[in-house]
């Protein structure tokens, strides 16, 4: 195996992982703290990407676009709370899945009606059209480095807020025992709204950052939502550390599987069979990893210890 290719693929895996983390962090907080399964979380990622695309094309300023993504997603998240989620907070998970799945279908169609079914243009921001040349002929696009940097900075900020601030302490307390927190006089409802808003803004930011590398089109959030669920289940629901660990694990497993699995199988199998089995196995790999983790640790890698409800 070419060590340089391995290095590049590790970098690719980390980058995919950090992008996933931005989506999964919000999802895991909402699931872990509000105890709501929010299938509409991927929609917020799409809303962020669309808002950024529209602002970028209209204004030409990427900084404005990257601000618009999380802001509009935040607004959409709060509207989601007002219009749908507050009716299902206390219902069981199946009701939440039904309600938020309805939102997912509705918003996907709404976006199609408003913007058309075609993908929107979302060019690379000015100043990022270059790539870093690595030894051995490989290149690494500047925008991917920007995603890595933004993901790392946000992960750090999130941990800082959660572990070093009063609001973060309350959020962690709410994840463990919301009833007790309420009895201590904390407005848990407002805290929930804060968590939901932060999660929505993170997803919107992820959408804006992913805009230049993916197709900005209706339904773009559905694929990422599945991955985000794999991440939070692997990492342990409700835990941001778990989400980061899960994201990196899923990103690396997916990337390395796609890169090397078929080639490795070719050493043992005839080429036609390796071509058949390799890609199928590579696309299953993250689910196998998840199953493996759950087998060893049924509540994920870093579960939040929770008081009995």
């Amino acid at each position: 195996m070419d060590p340089l290719l391995l290095l590049v693929q590790l970098l690719n895996g980390v980058q995919l992982g950090l992008l996933l983390f931005l989506v999964a962090a919000g999802l895991t907080l909402v699931f872990g703290i509000l105890d709501v399964i929010n299938l509409a979380h991927g929609v917020l990622y799409m809303v962020g990407a669309y808002a950024a695309a529209v602002v970028l094309v209209r204004s030409g300023h990427f900084a404005l676009a990257v601000l618009a993504g999380p802001l509009v997603a935040l607004g959409a998240g709060l509207a989601l709370d007002r219009l749908v989620l507050r009716f299902v907070y206390d219902r069981d998970h199946l009701d939440q899945v039904l309600a938020t799945f309805g939102v997912l279908i509705f918003v996907n169609e709404l976006v199609r009606v408003l913007f058309g079914p075609a993908a929107l243009p979302f060019p690379l921001p000015a100043g990022f059209e270059w790539s870093v040349r690595l030894p051995g002929g490989a290149t690494y696009p500047a925008w991917r480095l920007a995603i890595i940097a933004a993901g790392a900075i946000l992960a750090f900020l999130l941990f800082w807020v959660l572990t070093r601030t009063r609001a973060g302490m309350l959020v962690r307390a709410a994840a463990t025992d919301p009833a007790m927190l309420e009895m201590l006089g904390v407005d848990v409802r407002r805290l929930f709204l804060l968590v939901l808003g932060a999660g929505a803004a993170l997803a919107g930011f992820a959408g804006a950052m992913a805009g230049p590398i993916v197709a900005v089109q209706p339904g773009m959030g559905d694929q990422i939502l599945i991955l985000a669920f794999v991440v939070i289940v692997t990492g342990g629901t409700g835990s941001v550390q778990g989400a980061l660990l899960g994201s990196l694990l899923v990103g690396l497993a997916d990337t390395l599987g796609r890169s090397f699995l078929t080639d490795m199988l070719r050493l043992a199998l005839p080429p036609a069979a390796a071509n058949e089995v390799g890609p199928a196995l590579a696309s299953m790999l993250i689910y196998l990893v998840m199953a493996g983790v759950l087998l060893a640790r049924p509540r994920g890698l870093m579960p939040v210890r929770r008081a009995a409800r």
Partner: protein, 387 residues
Amino acid sequence: MRLGIAIAAAMVLWAGSAPAQELRVGFMATFTGPGANLGQHLRDGFLLGLDHVGGRLGGLETKLTIVDDQLKPDVARQEVDKLLEKEKVHFVVGIVFSNVLMAIYKPTIESGAFLISANAGPSPVAGAQCSERFFSTSWQNDQTHSALGKYAQDKGYRRVFLLAPNYQAGKDGLNGFKRYYRGTIVDEVYTQLGAVDFSAEIAKIQAAKPEAVYAFMPGGPGIALLKQYAQAGLTKQIPLLSAFTIDDTSLPALGDAADGLVSASQWAADFDNPANARFVADFRKKYGYVPSYFAAQAYDAAQLIDAAVRSTGGRLDDKTALRDALRNARFASVKGKWRLNTNHIPINDFYYVSPGKLADGTPAMVKGDLVFADYGDEYAKDCPMKW
């Protein structure tokens, strides 16, 4: 004034009581989900074709019912049953995706209606399962892939890297490419259907150092792939050839990332013939965007039905006469020529196409050199029809 209304009402009543022959068409395409953009192109092309004959195909009162297959074969089957049993359509037209076409193929042709594919062309319906009730205004799926294989061969690329989604059409596509390509395949990579990140595949391409890449990556994943390929700075170093990936449906989203890409097609917006000039100009005026080959094929489908029904004198009940009329229809195709193979799939000239500009500066896929002249598909020999 009141008298005028009375006369108008009387005329409506009179017209309603006349035993007018009605032509019923069911138009099916994908209008929801990731393939919705293609369905829109297909529908708009057909509607413009209908417009150009004054809303009357073959001079008959035309009733058009448009349905959404949602890219789900089971939904398509239900919808086509409704079209055939309730609407009693004479023609089922449209169909973007091959799996949808296969799902409705048997029920439609067995019901006695004609099925006109304006896009999908899977191999079974071109070969052994061909039917006198099935016609196409597009191609057989492999042909575009084969044209790019021929292009790579003609260009003298010695080492090519292949990339496609991991499903049947992906494998068929790469096999179509290999039919005319004789050089070395350095690697053949299959990605997950619906993948959005291609960094791993791009790194593999950089490590393999091929002379060209051939990709079949339709829809959103294709846009993601082309953007990421351009961002890695590869487009200028390693030419990217592709089928059903860069076209007039994805070009607007790609912008500069499309520069230097190569594909192949039997039609492009800058084809120089009067029928095409009118089609492209009127399409852009009516819908505000540049038509793709999807729209062109659907426009030809409307023209084919119009010409055939006209030549039977508007008789729809004699199916044999209508079949012969469809086989021998003469109309001004936007491709500049129209000829069907024995399996009812067009024999096309294939050109290589690349992103460029129309006369007024609008970005569009434009025609390059001829790759194949009068190219009939490889499956026609398995079709038992003789005519």
